[in-house]
Symmetry: C2
Subunit: 252 residues, 2 copies
């Protein structure tokens, strides 16, 4: 495919437990890193409640705007797990038992033990392609450009591993992070001049306070590796010129 094309994604975190503060989200960061590694840019994340109209409207908005949409949460067997039927509504297709998914659950739980509630987890929008769940079996699914995953991080991560061969990235964004003890106020003018000189390199500045030390990380991102390295060299020289010591930092 065209390696210069920018491939985009949105992530929807579906769940009252994130919005109530009960749970600290870690799915955004995992997906941001994984998508970046395969050349897909995460452009927007929304955290929304387990509310049908909100889910349907949000899915339809973002699936039209981005190449890929990944959702997490709301696909378990309980009454508050409404993501799957909302995705069916969003696509305007029936929500029905998926034969392959019900076979997986029958095999896993046994016919004696399988509850009606668990069978909900085998019900998907018509036309959905399953996503394997190596951890707890109940599958996720894909319909169109929307990938529907569990919310429990360990399960979500295993599902992502199962699906990622279906995603086609564009030009991967390479990055450099250069740290110094100089403050942003001192760096700002010259750093802006370098951003103006290298418009194809996205340059961000992140102040930090850690282990009692203050400083700034300057992060550069570009698809063109030689250009990125030239810009990074100029950033290092800029820091030295301002009396600082540039240190390269590992970045994701």
């Amino acid at each position: 495919m065209d390696q210069s094309r920018i491939v985009t994604a949105a992530v929807l975190i579906i769940g009252n437990e994130i919005l109530s503060g009960r749970t600290q989200d870690v799915n955004i960061n995992f997906l941001a890193c994984e998508l970046g590694e395969i050349g897909i840019r995460l452009m927007e994340v929304r955290v929304i409640p387990d509310a049908a109209d909100t889910i349907v409207a949000t899915v339809n908005e973002v699936r039209a705007r981005f190449d890929y949409v990944l959702t997490t949460g709301g696909i378990g067997p309980t009454h508050d797990d409404i993501t799957s039927e909302c995705i069916a509504r969003a696509f305007g297709v029936p929500w029905e038992l998926h034969p392959e998914a019900s076979a997986i659950l029958l095999d896993h739980y046994g016919r004696q033990n399988l509850t009606e509630a668990q069978l909900r987890m085998a019900t998907t929008p018509r036309g959905a392609a399953l996503i394997e769940n190596p951890v707890s079996k109940a599958p996720g699914f894909q319909i169109g450009n929307v990938f529907v995953l569990a919310g429990v991080p360990r399960i979500m991560q295993s599902m992502f591993d199962s699906l990622k061969h279906r995603l086609t990235g564009g030009a991967p964004l390479r990055s450099r992070a250069i740290v110094s003890s100089l403050g942003e106020g001192l760096l700002a003018r010259d750093f802006k001049a370098l951003q103006d000189k290298y418009p194809a390199v996205e340059m961000g500045s992140y102040p930090f306070f850690r282990d009692g030390r203050a400083g700034t990380s300057l992060v550069l991102r570009a698809t063109d590796e030689p250009l990125l390295e030239r810009a990074a060299d100029e950033v290092r020289a800029m820091i030295r010129g301002l009396g600082g010591t540039p240190v390269d930092e590992a970045v994701v």
Copy 2:
């Protein structure tokens, strides 16, 4: 005020560093917990890039839909800090030097040292009311129902402490979390029956795997404390009836 009114909020996390995966967000969880404590329901979170058109459109959409909007990130002195000028654009007002803010920065940095870049941090939408920053001085600000905070967690948290007296909550949502080793598939039918019996109590089910043990947390939320306790008692009885041992868990 009317204690039965539901007061809502949205949070906008503005910053490429969250979307790239470089930074694990912790601001969502902090704000979710703090807002909940003062009776304000976080209804939606969006993570968006440092892109002017996206910021302006998103701010205008959410400030019309929710009682309060809190933004984090993008108010430092560097070229990628564009939140403040975007808020001015969203409100259709000039972006100009705020006399009180520039006095704070002059006092903090000294006239000799204050850079033009730092003075950007004293530039706000016309009509903005400052939010004190006890950590690093450069203030946040409020305009209309939008509160604009720093992205660095420690600074953001200190700003939130400075502003929270300006927020008026509605009826606070009380909660109970009841844990057992029973799986969701087993609990689902009876739990749904209780949700149907208590429509004013929001009931959620969260499976977990920790320390090698699997189980389910059932979380109940309601504004009516006696009703909540009655529903919680029924949930405990339900768990016992299914052969489990209910354990109350601390919740936020």
